[in-house]
């Protein structure tokens, strides 16, 4: 019994993933096509902004403003991209993402606002700014040079996958192998000790939120390229979904643990789960409730794992 529970707690992610896949595959006509579709097209978007959330969670905070950062930066950039200033537009989009992330970081480190409240508040303010900027309008019909970023494929694999994998590789390298990455982990694990050992924790946190902002605007840009439309409502669910994916992936809220690698599995679980509900013909209105439940369940699993770690000899 001990062994079974221990095994289940250790490998719950894989078990969950397989169980969801089994259910959805048993219902769909063409399971392989379905899985390919999820991995090639749906997962990369979610992955990119969930990485941002994961990094913020590692520092012991979180970033709920992902969705509105994506909306604001892409809507602003769309004004340029529609005039065929593609590279300037993309650069502007990423810069705005970094700038808004910088604001988040400063609110958290300099004004010492709780990360949850700071980013949740920023979410409302930025979203309001997007509404003002767009005034209810949409920008659409971009040139194919821009749309190819998300629509194109190479060797039969969607560009989205390459972009997501490239970002994953860079983040994994930076956060596992560089001094900065280790500083991020130590800041999350114990901010006081890190500061005493000479880590500039404020700088670390600010940079992490900037990276998170850039990742949010990157995925926003890919969405716009894919949907061929920039609108103020983009990314309403980003924060919630990213938090669910990060936590179910096993990155701990206490900070200093987990990583973007875990989040890949977390994102797959979330994407497969949403797809599973879709093929089971569950109304999409259930989405919010499901995200909430996943967050609660993964927080509980994390806690159970910690509490019984010794007993189960994990």
């Amino acid at each position: 019994m001990k062994r079974i529970v221990g095994f289940a707690l250790n490998y719950y992610k894989i078990i969950l993933l397989l169980a969801i896949l089994a259910v959805s595959s048993s219902v769909t006509q063409d399971p392989l096509q379905n899985i390919k579709n999820m991995i090639m097209i749906q997962a990369p978007f979610v992955m990119i902004y969930s990485f941002g959330m994961t990094l913020a969670v590692i520092t012991g905070g979180l970033d709920l403003s992902l969705g509105s950062i994506a909306a604001f930066s892409t809507c602003a950039a769309a004004f340029l991209i529609i005039k065929d200033q593609i590279f300037i537009g993309i650069a502007a989009c990423l810069l705005i993402g970094a700038g808004l992330g910088l604001l988040n970081g400063l609110l958290i480190t300099k004004a010492k606002v709780n990360p949850f409240i700071a980013t949740y508040g920023m979410d409302w303010v930025i979203r309001g700014a997007v509404y003002i900027m767009m005034g209810g309008a949409m920008i659409y019909h971009f040139s194919s040079d821009f749309k190819i970023i998300a629509d194109g494929s190479f060797l039969g694999i969607s560009n989205l996958v390459y972009i997501a994998l490239a970002i994953l590789a860079i983040l994994m390298f930076v956060f596992q192998k560089t001094v900065f990455g280790r500083n991020v982990y130590s800041t999350g694990a114990n901010i006081k000790v890190s500061r005493l050992t000479g880590v500039n924790t404020d700088l670390v946190i600010v940079v992490v939120y900037m990276i998170s902002g850039v990742l949010a605007s990157t995925s926003g840009l890919l969405y716009v390229a894919r949907l061929d439309c920039a609108e103020a409502f983009l990314g309403k669910n980003f924060g919630l979904q990213a938090l669910a994916a990060t936590l179910i992936g096993g990155t701990s809220l206490q900070g200093g643990k987990g990583g973007v690698g875990n989040t890949v599995i977390g994102v797959l679980i979330m994407v497969f789960l949403m797809n599973c509900l879709n093929v089971l013909k569950v109304s999409t209105l259930w989405q919010d409730a499901v995200f909430g439940l996943v967050i609660v369940v993964s927080a509980l699993l994390e806690m159970a794992k910690q509490r019984y770690a010794n007993y189960l000899q994990l």
């Binding site: 709780n114 303010v125 409730a289 967050i295 609660v296």
Partner: protein, 323 residues
């Protein structure tokens, strides 16, 4: 202790002065702001905000937070109108709405107080659960009601004042009494001051968390029913973002996140501030999008200000103790 009371008194008068300045400014700047018809409506909005915020004040006094308040409002409005549409008696429909709030509150209390989950994340999760349930229950539609009683709750008047005003006044008096004169109120303050000390001195902290979150949930549900009454319909987006205004109300009123300090009187003044600001901005002719951004900005500034004042106070205390 004396100096504490004195500084609290000064804080309250300072807040009141701020509200007075805003009130005078809006009276001159915004046409149609100063007049019984409009002010009566401001009073109504203020009290709806205050009812929800008084529950939130108790939670923040504990050093916790309740992100689910806005969604609970939506859920309660949907449950009440949905029950009405099934032809169920208004009394049971209202009780159903309140019960929905109590259940979400109980869930919050259990996750936070008993299972010790991070309170931000736990209540953020229940927020999306409540919102999701509301959406599923109404299938994304607005549920209109033809109940005269619900309409009376939202818009009816007794002796020239809205029913909401009377009802909220009674509710608030009870809440004032509960938080300042009862054992339960003292327990909340002592847990907020130091949970460990409170537990060691024999307070069953889990029970206090449970009861407080249930109270907060029920009060949010009351706010949701008021909103449903105003429109005589239920809507799953009625409370979207309302929790943000509510938290800001509490913080502006001088109850900091760390808990154990502040109280309902400050929250009442915070509610005045936000209600006047909201109404004034729309009277000044700002479009909803601008109101959305400006109020968000004002709230964020208030929060940043609150945190920095507390940081300074803590530093001052440390200096005095000689650390």
């Amino acid at each position: 202790m004396k100096s504490n009371k004195y500084s609290r008194y000064r804080e309250i008068t300072g807040l009141l002065a701020g509200v007075a300045v805003l009130f005078v400014f809006m009276s001159f700047a915004a046409e149609g702001f100063f007049g019984w018809y409009n002010l009566h409506n401001v009073l109504k909005d203020l009290l709806i905000l205050m009812v929800v915020a008084s529950g939130m004040t108790l939670v923040i006094l504990l050093g916790k937070i309740d992100m689910s308040a806005g969604s609970v409002m939506s859920l309660a409005s949907i449950v009440t109108t949905l029950l009405l549409s099934y032809g169920i008696n208004i009394v049971f429909a209202l009780l159903g709405g309140l019960l929905a709030g109590a259940i979400i509150g109980l869930l919050n209390g259990y996750l936070v107080g008993v299972l010790n989950l991070n309170h931000f994340v736990a209540t953020f999760a229940t927020m999306s659960i409540a919102k999701g349930l509301a959406l599923v229950a109404c299938n994304g539609d607005i549920i209109s009601s033809d109940s005269d009683v619900l309409l009376f709750i939202g818009t009816g008047k007794i002796f020239g004042l809205f029913f909401i005003v009377w009802f909220s006044a009674i509710l608030l008096i009870i809440m004032f009494f509960l938080s300042t004169k009862t054992k339960f109120g003292y327990k909340i303050y002592s847990i907020g001051g130091s949970e460990q000390v409170a537990r060691l001195s024999g307070i069953k902290t889990a029970n206090v968390y449970l009861v407080t979150y249930v109270i907060a949930g029920v009060l949010a549900a009351v706010g949701g029913i008021f909103m449903a009454g105003k429109a005589n319909s239920g809507n799953a987006t009625i409370g979207d973002g309302y929790e943000f205004s509510v938290i800001a109300t509490v913080l502006i009123g001088g109850t900091p996140f760390e808990g154990g300090k502040g109280g309902l009187l400050g929250t009442l003044i915070g509610a005045m501030f936000l209600a006047i600001l909201k109404n004034g901005l729309s009277m000044l002719g700002f479009t909803p999008a601008w109101q959305y951004a400006l109020i968000g900005l004002a709230i964020l500034i208030a929060i940043v200000g609150d945190v920095s004042i507390n940081e300074r106070r803590k530093a001052e205390e440390k200096r005095r103790v000689g650390l």
